[in-house]
């Protein structure tokens, strides 16, 4: 057996690609068609009223205790417990989460059905919101999805950061906002969790707030489509979202903020025009804010009008004013990326979000201090991310040498 594996090792270590293959590759890379980058238009002018109460009185509706509903919808009320260690941004939520008040309606045969306040059905899909938690940085919402047509057992699993654990995912599209806030699109915000049976999925949705929020609020969530993958589908180019069901599932969900969990740490470390301003640390995530220098780009009214004509087919109504467009697109930012490690040099997997903001998952790592590196050069950043040594830690000495800003932040 060893000989076979040794042979495969040798084949694997030979990275020679023939010249003619490289030549064809270079030809196609030199001739790639251009695509225009989608600019992030923020919608304005759609303000929403404060969240309404979620219990809905419907004739014979009444509050029931969990055991009664459990017979019909067994996972409601304990979805955090079911998925919290199996998803990105894993952690112990179940003890802190608030169970959404469930009401039920009794039909003529005396059967219980989940509430219309937290459960909505459209297009053959029932979306039931279960629990909510907010650490001031994100709102975490669990939900159960029931799909009449079935097929969820073909949902492929995806490996989550770090280990052999897998999670499944359902794709959500629509909008959400907090009271008085702008509507924000659900783009990469998915329900991550697990398939229960061919018709049922449970998972958690994480919605990142723009800024730290200390007071309670209400989440207004308006879903317009629910999608999922199917591993049996032959169309490999659409590796995700084999099915997408359009519909309407609207919710108003109140929540309070767990202010005891989050620590805000002012940093103010500068370098090369970049400033690491502050860090937020919660049991589930670390969020860093960097002030990234930018250059102003002149945008003429003619450019704005030409873009509006192109994008709207001549109606010239982009939905935002010229001044708002200049505010959005008139700043040119250079490369930036923030790498966040704990005291042992273990990297926290992260994604940059809005300019200067990076959100990283704690995923159960111990954090007594953070080493934060801000890079203004993609090669230096890539070098550090690839430098992960055999034990999963980065070369922090090298990171300090090549980062434009580096800071050590005590957390405990």
């Amino acid at each position: 057996m060893m000989q076979f594996e040794e042979m495969m090792d040798r084949i694997g270590s030979n990275n020679e690609v023939p010249e003619r293959v490289w030549k064809k590759l270079d030809n196609v890379l030199n001739d790639l068609p251009d695509y225009e980058e989608e600019l992030p238009f923020r919608r304005r002018g759609r303000q929403y009223a404060a969240a309404a109460a979620i219990t809905v009185s419907m004739g014979t509706a009444f509050c029931v205790s969990n055991p009664a509903l459990a017979a019909k919808i067994p996972f409601i009320g304990r979805i955090f417990e079911e998925v919290e260690n199996k998803i990105p941004f894993s952690g112990d939520y179940s003890e802190k989460a608030v169970l959404l008040e469930q009401t039920a309606k009794e039909d003529e045969e005396g059967n219980l059905h989940a509430a219309s306040g937290v459960a909505k059905t459209d297009a053959g899909i029932t979306f039931t919101a279960s629990e909510v938690y907010c650490d001031g940085l994100s709102v975490f919402l669990t939900a159960q999805i029931e799909v009449e047509q079935g097929g969820l057992e073909n949902l492929p699993g995806h490996y989550i950061d770090g280990g052999d654990a897998t999670a499944e995912m359902m794709y959500l599209r629509g909008e959400w906002n907090l009271p008085g806030g702008d509507a924000r699109s659900l783009s990469n915000d998915n329900l991550e969790g697990k398939v229960i049976d061919d018709n049922t999925f449970v998972g958690m949705l994480k919605l990142d707030l723009e800024d730290y929020k200390s007071g309670g609020g209400g989440l207004s969530l308006r879903l317009s489509s629910i999608g999922w993958d199917d591993v049996t589908m032959a169309d490999a180019e659409s590796i995700s979202e084999s099915y997408r069901i359009e519909g309407q599932w609207d919710f108003d969900i109140p929540f309070s903020v767990d202010t005891e969990s989050v620590k805000e740490i002012a940093v103010g470390q500068e370098g090369g025009g970049y400033t690491l301003e502050k860090v937020f640390v919660s049991p589930y995530q670390v969020v860093t804010y960097v002030d990234v220098p930018y250059e102003d780009r002149e945008i003429t009214r003619e450019e704005y009008e030409a873009l509006a004509a192109e994008k709207t087919g001549g109606t010239k109504d982009l939905g935002i004013t010229y001044e708002e467009y200049v505010e959005e697109a008139g700043k040119v930012y250079p490369f930036w990326n923030t790498v966040i490690c704990n005291q042992d040099g273990e990297i926290l997997f992260s994604n940059p979000e809005d300019v200067g903001k990076t959100v990283a998952a704690v995923d159960g790592k111990e954090i007594s201090a953070l080493h934060i590196f801000v890079f203004d050069d993609a090669d230096a950043d890539l070098e550090i991310e690839k430098s992960r040594l055999g034990n999963g830690t980065v070369d922090m000495k090298r990171a300090e040498e090549t980062a434009v800003v580096s800071a050590e932040v005590e957390v405990k």
Binding site: I11, G12, N14, R20, H158, Y159, E237, P352, L382
Partner: protein, 183 residues
């Protein structure tokens, strides 16, 4: 890596180019395991790059870029393979090769000749590219059981072939050494 993917998703040509070049050896091995010749392999890679460039905005999770890329590649390879099977009268020129082939290159040829395409591809994806069985099942649209079965069969056949042919490989090495001594 994630940064390159993020930039490529915004249709940054330089980042996309870097990303593709990093994965070209992987694409080459996987495509050659199916198609066996460099010309078709180059075509498959070319088509894959164009498809990726067009569709990269639809990639949901950046870290699954490689899985996604290889899946697209396999589809293009299968397409070319089917087209080639229909044109059986087409004459294929012999592959250009180096006279001084190394041992790994010899083993690679043995590997290509010894196994059917469906066993070669799972072997390459598992042993060389390091994909897990579940990922291979997704890439090839087959069940995990089928992947495991094919891997076991591939190993069995290669073990027998390799054990039988090892003496000739050893002789090849001995001949090389003898040549060096003479020179």
């Amino acid at each position: 890596m994630d940064i390159l993917v993020r930039k490529a998703k915004k249709h940054d040509k330089e980042a996309f180019g870097q990303l593709i070049k990093m994965y070209t050896p992987s694409m080459y091995k996987a495509a050659k395991a199916i198609l066996k010749n460099d010309e078709d392999t180059a075509d498959a890679i070319q088509e894959t790059v164009l498809t990726c460039w067009e569709k990269i905005g639809t990639l949901k999770k950046d870290k699954y870029f490689k899985t996604w890329l290889i899946r697209i590649l396999i589809n293009h390879c299968n397409q070319i393979y089917r087209e080639r099977s229909r044109n059986i009268s087409e004459v294929r020129l012999p592959e250009e090769g180096s006279m001084e082939e190394n041992f790994a290159a010899v083993e690679w040829k043995e590997f290509l000749q010894c196994l059917d395409e469906k066993y070669r591809i799972v072997t390459i994806l598992y042993y060389v590219e390091g994909f897990k069985i579940r990922e291979i099942a997704q890439i090839l649209d087959i069940s995990e059981k089928t992947v495991s079965g094919r891997l076991a069969t591939a190993r069995d056949r290669m073990e027998k072939q390799y054990m039988r042919e090892k003496p000739s490989a050893v002789i090849y090495q001995m001949n090389l050494k003898r040549k060096e001594m003479l020179l």
